[in-house]
Amino acid sequence: MGRVVNLLRGSVRLEVSGAFPERFLNLCAQRGVAFWRVEWPEEHVLRLTVAWQDRKGLEDLARRTGCTLDEAGQRGVPPFLLRFRKRYALLIGLALALTAVIVLSRFVLVVEVEGNETVPAQVILTELQRAGLRPGVYGPGLSVRDISNEAMLHLDDLAWMAVNLHGIRAQVVVREKVAKPEMVDESALGDIVAEAPGIVTRMEVWAGDAAVAEGATVLPGDVLIRGSVKMAPPLYSENPPEWMPVRAMGRVEGRTWRTMAASIPLEAEVKELTGDEKSVYSLTILGQRVNFYQNSGIPFDRYDKIANTWNLTLPGGLVLPFAVRRETFRAYRAAAVPVEEAAAQSMLESRLADQLLELLGETGTVVSQQFSAVRRDGALTVTLTAECREELGRFVPAG
């Protein structure tokens, strides 16, 4: 422990030469100057170690005792730091670094969004930027409550937002709204009609009267379940039957035959790079972009633009708002190339099958399907014919 303390406060090794060096030792003791590692190598030479802070004034003691004082070495932190006393560039750099740390720590450098699943973080960041929170803004001057309130006004899908400032990092915690389930308006009256032509295979009436029987062939628009219930009059009554309007409800499944077509040109236009390219660089500092290329134009008619951005990232993965961006423009010319027919047909078949499944929804199934392809007017047309089992009915409000 003592060695650590001596290292921190610093020590000086002294060599005292004179007729009576012990007098120097006694004077040090009288003055309260602490010393250790006393050695007496020769009769008139004395070596001892004193603390760095006690070094000043020992020449006077040596002179009074008729001795000469020489420094044999220095150890510890203060002598080490004093070595840099005349390294002005280093001191200026240190001062600038300290200033940068003190000043930059007052600014928000990173804005992080947490808790979002469906709302993109970029959308939230854009609203926050409009509200005044962006990389480079002065942190203590922010009113986080006002910012979150203002951003929430424009973000309908969010239920809650909190902005926490942690030094250079602004943490934005959000909670999204739970989607409202689709409500069926049961007060609306009407019929269930056929959506597609087909043969009814199964009827399940929950409300209303069945208008067709199983096995019937229906066309689009035909009423399947009528939204009115016949109320028979009492026995022996001479009153006519009454019809009570209801909301028709139920399921009507049937066999349908769907036909879908898609086509693609047999000659496609592709890009052919000419080999000419141009790169421009820009620097983004705290959200402000500095262009190095000023307003120089792009000398190509047709070109691809490829952008690469390199962000300054700390070892922990924290991305700082300093980035270098390179934009490369590659010139190309359009060239017509023939499309491989088999691949085009396969692609169209796959696309049509996906469209059919999407059309049928979760309740429908494909019983069988077949494709046919025709070349006509420089294009390939693929037709899908499929037999399906699906829900035929669709509610149509009355009147």
Binding site: E22, L25, N26, A29, R31, W36, V38, W40
Partner: protein, 92 residues
Amino acid sequence: MERKPKKEGLLEKTAQALDLPGEVVGLPRVEIVGRQELRMENHRGILAYGPEEILISGGKLIIKVRGTGLELKAMNAGGLLITGALLSVELT
């Protein structure tokens, strides 16, 4: 010729007359802890120093400490601490 013993000093006489401990009136006090440590209060300074012999002034007394590997561990105006393998302490 037989050496004449030193006269008692004024401080010693005062301490005896008033029945006071000697160190209260400034007389040197030497304390030995085992064979490794010697403490002294009310010294008047070091007269000679070496790893085998250290001479300390105690006013009218001179304390001669003999031993091996002697080292002056700490010293201030009132006291000092010597460590090492002590062999003898002699008063002259």
